[in-house]
Each structure stands twice: as structure tokens, then as C-alpha cells.
Amino acid sequence: MTATAVRTSPVTDAETLARVERFLYTEAEIMDDHRYPEWLELWTEELEYWVPFDLADETPQGRVAVICDDRPRLKERLARFDGGYAHAQIPRPVLSRTVSNVLVDQVSDGTLEVRSRFVLTLLKHQWQTVTHAQEMVFSGKAIHVLEPAGDTLRIRRKTVRLSNVVLPLPNIQFLL
């Protein structure tokens, strides 16, 4: 998760790019649909999921984050969402995100580093009134480190540079 300098080279072959894009779109759909057990299956056994609170942070060490999960913490996050008592997520917000600007680099050890942008709209609709509905837009940059796993890919590390951190954040009770 630290900002180690890795040698990378751009990936341009159509087959790899299509595979990566398909992976990102699938992940986006799973996150939008709140399918938490399926999302967990996209990760490698050892994992790092980091959403810094300060866009200038290069490491979570010594800095408070929005999210800084290892596997046990991530599993608790998902168990809580599906446990029925995460009030801040009731009713579940309606999410729709677009993923684009996908750039893929081959990292020297054979894994892929993928940079992409997302725009996510959220509708929170408790009490079914326009007055109290909350419509929000979240956007930012995602950096996935993906490892090959059989004929698919797995997420070893994911960093999300969420644009919204420059302002006070409302509850983030969904997946980024």
C-alpha cells in the first residue's frame, strides 16, 4: 500500500484491455447492486483496500483514512452491511456508477496496475419525500492492482482517491 516505485509498462493488447475492462465493469455492477459476498470473491486472500482522507497521502501509515481494510476488517464491513442493523444503510441507497478512462500497466512481477475514473450517483430515499431525499455524486480515481487467477483476475490492492474528501463527507455506507 506504500508508494513503492514499481517499473511498469503500458499494456496495449486488445485482449488484455478487454479482460480488464470487463473485470472493472463487473465489479462496478456488483458494488452498485450491493452484492457483498460476490464482491469479496473478487479479492485475493491477502488484500489492501484503502480510501485516503487526504488526496496528498501516499501511505496510510500515520494518517487517518476513510477506509483502510485488511481482509478481517473488510469481512466485518460486508458482514455488517448484510447483518440487518447497519441503520445508516437502511434503506439501501440506489447506486449507479460509470467507470471509464481505463489505463493498464504491466507491473514487473506480472501483475497489472489499472487506473480508472468513476462517477457514482447515489439516491437516498428514506421517507419517500423529495424534501428529504439526498442526491449525491461521488467521483474519483481508482487504482487496482490485479493478479491473474486462472482465467480471471483478482484484486490484490485497491486505492480509491475520492474527490469528495476535500469537503466534509456524508456517510459512506456503500462500496467504492
Binding site: V64, E76, Q173
Partner: protein, 436 residues
């Protein structure tokens, strides 16, 4: 507010919902509390070097917390004395001067006006000393926690803070050198509800935070490391919420300062510390060794046991678990809350890292605890659109709380002694009048 212009809060254990919803009352809170009374501004560790500054807000007013060239921490209004533009835009930084970019008026970081371009437009005897950046007339500090009053008169800082001072010090004494640092960043959050719902409720854990209790219950006992000290209490097993008076209290200390007291002395063992702050066994051992060396074999466990004061310092500062929380009312139905992990001076980096990761478990917009508080506050704000009579009940424990000889009021942990303490102070200060 009644037609007589008198503000009332808790009457016969009931409170009118309008104090949480009425825009006119909110305006008066800004004038009478935030722009006049003692409020927490920031921590000296946010401006560690000469010339450091950080932008803050007092009520609605933009201020700059600075450390000037003489090493004084000062609170300046961020407003040029010429035509009113802000003179500092960056959220934090280091500078010897602040310059207004409208006409170039320039001020030292202590506030003195030092430069007026083309001063021939003013009389030769213009006294620059009359045109420095406006300074908060009164400042008070406890262990680096900086408070300010924008009024020249009123209760002294020492009198205001007296009932809380010991607990601020106890919080800092989690460090072997007695100092905390807010250098680990801050989680800035916002919710759509009134600021006065926050804090001091020892009754809500078992329901509001049931999801965290389920996570803790699901853990293998041997790996149960990640809970923060606060999360244990706030996760609120029914047992901890409804403990009897002997081991746990809701306390009204006076001047609106309130706290939840849990007797932790028996928990101040290596195992408990490791579990509570997510420390590895090696880090826990080193940390406890440092604490033992600093406070002595006989005292260090007491010091540790008291280092989570769970105190709400009226009106806008809370020291809970391992973090410092600042409350900033924006509107009757909108509140910003800053949550910063308190790092300890004099401990290994890994200990502070563990405190940060443990903080993130319960506190912050994507955490497992505080978002449910925010959600409940928003539900109250919506609920108060219903105008029921008689008004809300705030009577829990009224029949069993005790007033001590020094005026401190003790209730059971789940009693609303704390909220009544805060609102009693609110009523007192709201009726004291406005600043000139």
C-alpha cells in the same frame, strides 16, 4: 423561545423540539453561544512550527489559528481590516505574513498590520496599530487544546473549564509525556440534523450500535483485537449499558460539561490494552513499559484506566476513546463533525498507527459506529416535523440521580443526566444576552 424572549430547555423532564429545528433559535445560538462564549478552536499541535497556521471556524466566523514568530498560539479573524476580504485561503501552511490580494494590505502572522501599498492616500499619522487583524480577545489553553471567546467579558476561562480540566489532562496522560498530537489527519463529516443531539447518551448503544456488537460477538475470542475502547462501551452490550451506579455513571460535571464514566481499573492489563487499541503484543508490552516508567509502578494502571474520559466539553469538544471530536453547527438541520485520532507523543510509531486503525473501526463516515449515530440524528430531525404535544421526554433517571455536595450530578450510565446537564447550560448561556 417563548414570546417573552426567554429561552427554555428542559421543563419537568420535557424539552420542546423547536430548540432543534427553529431557525430563529439557531441564529441566537450563533450569537449567544458560538460568537460569545468559550468554544474549542483547535490544538496547538496543529501548528507545531513558528509561522504555521491552520484555518478554523468559530460559529460562522472564519478564523486562523497561528503560531507567531514569538511562539504564541493566536486566534485571528480571517478578515482584512480594509475592505473585508479573507487574507488566508489555504487550509494550512506556514507563512510569516498574510496578504490581502485585493489591495495588498499585509499583516504579520501575529496580526499586526505591517504594510499598506501607497500609504499617501491616508493621513501621515494613520496609526497602523489600530488596523491589525482582529484577535480573539480571550484565549484559554489546556495541554494544547485552544479555546477562544470572541467576547471581551463573561465567565473566565479558568472558571468555565474547571469542571473538565482534570479529564482533559487524564486524556493526554495516555502519553508517557502527557501530550497528544492531532497530526494524524482528520475525518471531516457532515449530517443533516441539529448539533445538540450529539454526545453524552449512555442509553443508545444496544440499539443504535447493535451492528458493532454483532461483529464483536462473531469474533474468535483469540483474535478480538480491533475494538476500540469506545466501541466496547458504545457497542453497548445490554450488560454494559445498564450497569449499576457503582461501576458506571452518566455525570453532569457543571458548566454543561458531561461525561460517561466506566470503571476500567480492572481492565488496565496488558491484554485489555492490546485488545482495546489494536496493539500487537510486542507494542503493548513496550507501551506499558513506557507508561510504567513515566507514571510509576503503582500509578500507571490508574492513569491508563482514566485515559478515556468520554467527556463532552460544552459546547463543541469531545474526548472519547482515542479521538478528539469537534462539533460545528452549520444550520438547525446541518452539522459538521471533525473526528481526529489523538496520537501520543513519546510512543513508537506503530502504537500510534494502531490507534488510528482502531479509531477507523468505529469513527468516520465509512466506519461501523458513528454513521449509525448520524443516521439516527437525521431520523430525529425528520421525526420532529411531527408537532406532537406534549413535547419530547428527557426524564430518564430524573427520579434516581443524585446531586453531590460539589454540584456534580450522578445518574446511572443510561440516564439522561448528561443531556439535561448540557441543556441546562444551554438555557443559562442563551439567556445571558448577546455580545456588543
Amino acid at each position: 423561545m417563548s414570546t417573552s424572549g426567554v429561552f427554555t430547555s428542559v421543563v419537568d423532564g420535557r424539552v420542546d423540539g423547536s430548540i432543534y429545528t427553529d431557525p430563529a433559535i439557531f441564529e441566537e445560538e450563533m450569537k449567544r453561544i458560538f460568537h460569545r462564549y468559550w468554544v474549542y478552536v483547535g490544538h496547538a499541535s496543529e501548528v507545531p512550527e513558528l509561522g504555521d497556521y491552520v484555518l478554523k471556524t468559530i460559529g460562522r466566523q472564519p478564523v486562523i489559528l497561528t503560531r507567531d514568530e514569538e511562539d504564541n498560539v493566536t486566534v485571528l479573524l480571517n478578515q482584512c481590516r480594509h475592505r473585508g476580504s479573507t487574507v488566508c485561503q489555504a487550509a494550512r501552511g506556514n507563512s510569516t505574513v498574510f496578504r490581502c490580494q485585493y489591495h495588498g494590505w499585509t499583516y504579520k502572522n501575529s496580526g499586526e498590520l505591517i504594510g499598506i501599498p501607497r500609504p499617501d492616500g491616508y493621513p501621515a499619522d494613520l496609526d497602523k496599530r489600530q488596523f491589525g487583524l482582529f484577535k480573539a480577545p480571550r484565549i484559554g489553553t489546556v495541554r494544547g487544546f485552544v479555546f477562544a471567546s470572541l467576547a471581551g467579558d463573561g465567565i473566565s476561562f479558568d472558571d468555565h473549564i474547571a469542571p473538565a480540566r482534570h479529564y482533559i489532562e487524564a486524556f493526554c496522560d495516555a502519553s508517557p509525556v502527557g501530550e497528544v498530537m492531532l497530526s494524524g489527519g482528520v475525518q471531516r463529516t457532515v449530517f443533516n440534523a441539529n448539533w445538540k443531539y450529539i454526545g453524552g447518551d449512555g442509553y443508545h448503544g444496544a440499539f443504535t450500535h447493535r451492528s458493532t456488537k454483532e461483529l464483536l460477538d462473531a469474533r474468535e475470542p483469540v483474535t478480538a483485537h480491533a475494538a476500540t475502547r469506545t466501541s466496547k462501551a458504545e457497542a453497548g452490550s445490554t450488560a454494559s449499558t445498564f450497569l449499576d451506579r457503582k461501576t458506571s455513571n452518566a455525570v453532569s460535571l457543571g458548566n454543561g460539561h458531561v461525561r460517561l464514566h466506566d470503571d476500567r481499573k480492572n481492565e488496565a492489563s496488558l491484554t485489555a490494552i492490546a485488545r482495546d487499541t489494536h496493539l500487537s503484543p510486542a507494542d503493548a508490552k513496550e507501551y506499558l513499559g513506557l507508561m510504567k516508567a513515566a507514571y510509576g509502578e503503582d500509578s500507571y494502571e490508574d492513569v491508563l484506566a482514566q485515559s478515556d474520559p468520554h467527556i463532552e466539553i460544552w459546547p463543541n469538544l469531545q474526548l472519547t476513546g482515542t479521538h478528539v471530536r469537534t462539533v460545528r453547527p452549520v444550520a438547525p438541520n446541518r452539522t459538521e463533525v471533525e473526528m481526529a485520532p489523538a496520537l501520543l507523543r513519546g510512543v513508537p510509531e506503530s502504537v500510534n498507527n494502531a490507534r488510528i486503525r482502531s479509531h477507523e473501526w468505529f469513527f468516520g463516515p465509512a466506519s461501523f459506529g458513528s454513521p449509525d449515530d448520524s443516521e439516527i440524528f437525521e431520523r430525529i430531525q425528520r421525526g420532529l416535523d411531527a408537532k406532537a404535544v406534549p413535547p419530547l421526554l428527557l426524564a430518564r433517571g430524573l427520579h434516581r440521580q443524585e446531586v453531590m455536595p460539589d454540584g456534580v450530578i450522578l445518574g446511572n450510565r443510561s440516564d439522561e443526566t448528561t443531556q439535561r446537564g448540557q441543556l441546562t447550560q444551554w438555557e443559562k448561556v442563551m439567556n445571558e444576552g448577546v455580545s456588543k
